[in-house]
Subunit: 210 residues, 2 copies
């Protein structure tokens, strides 16, 4: 895991740079999330769908004029501001991410409230069990790291106790114990009918990141 | 879980209907996947990004002319053809889904090969641990059900043994044991450097679906 802890990239850029990029891409990402949803739910006729695809092709060609060659990576500056834009769970510029926005309480508890729509479906009208796993894994990693250390997921155990309807969901994670470089975290995701998935995770602080 | 097994919707429609819809939406979904990637990786200037967002808004307005009110659900017809278009892991019309395409071997082993790009990132240049969990959960569910019965995830245990670089990945799942309504499945996801995550799952056939 050693390379991972050191792959976060320091950049000598002011907070204003991060603000500018986030502002530039916010309306695009909002439309991209809307598109993901509509691509699933649309019942538009052949002509409208074909025209939409053509507009989209033109938009993509514009965006492709200048690109980062690979993935977004994670960049941070001297004031601690981080650009984690491509992250699959929380990335502001990733239309796959709901995005989940976490709240770190003074008590160390990490919480998130979000709405999961058509794109997160597994069984009809319910959240995909794997989407619950994705969100829990991410929130538990943040709970373990508390934004002050790098941690890697060691093991994750998920107990599916009830189906989770699409719609508003709540996540909560807390540290259960810390022993050397091992951090145990408990978390849950709940929806209308109560807790749907309970999770226990063991997170590790790699030797070179401790 | 009883309502879940019965929420799959029978529709009296020929295979040709499913073919027609899949054909209509395939170019759109391909552009939507491209957009998700470019929204993360683009370094286009302010004017190009704003123009792309406007094209996208127009595409969305076209798609929104007629929509299903809620999620896609899962529909199937008399010949067993199923439309699982919105599924977060395998949905053909879901730009969040890579989509994973599974191969069911005669030996009961279920395999999938896919490419995970910028949109699936967690640690820099690596697959998000939660994305591995999402794909494993789905493949293991299919392994348990073998497309012949409904199964629900009971528990899922994931052991993260190595980081998984973005790029080509392989998944494999097999049934370890079956006892009454309990099915145990083992699976893994591997990349360039070998196996990254090992998973054990307990899947349940609900009483009303047995």
């Amino acid at each position: 895991m050693s390379s991972l802890a050191q792959s976060f990239e320091f950049v000598d850029l002011p907070d204003a740079y991060f603000d500018e990029i986030e502002t530039r891409f916010a309306p695009l990402t909002a439309q991209a999330r809307r598109l993901v949803d509509l691509t699933i739910r649309s019942e538009a006729d052949e002509a409208d769908v074909a025209e939409a695809a053509e507009l989209l092709r033109r938009a993509n060609d514009l965006l492709e004029r200048r690109t980062r060659p690979f993935a977004a990576g994670v960049r941070f500056n001297a004031s601690g501001r981080a650009a984690n834009w491509g992250n699959a769970a929380v990335g502001l510029r990733n239309a796959i991410a709901p995005p989940m926005q976490t709240r770190h309480g003074d008590d160390g508890v990490v919480r998130a409230s979000l709405h999961l729509g058509a794109a997160y479906e597994g069984p009809p009208r319910h959240v995909h069990g794997g989407v619950s796993a994705l969100l829990l894994d991410h929130l538990m990693g943040e709970t373990a790291s508390q934004f002050k250390r790098f941690t890697a997921t060691g093991t994750l155990t998920l107990r599916y106790v009830a189906p989770l309807p699409l719609g508003p969901v709540e996540l909560e994670g807390r540290i259960v114990s810390e022993e050397g470089r091992k951090i145990r975290v408990h978390a849950s995701i709940a929806g209308g009918a109560g807790v749907a998935v309970e999770a226990d995770g063991l997170f590790i602080v790699p030797r070179d990141a401790a």
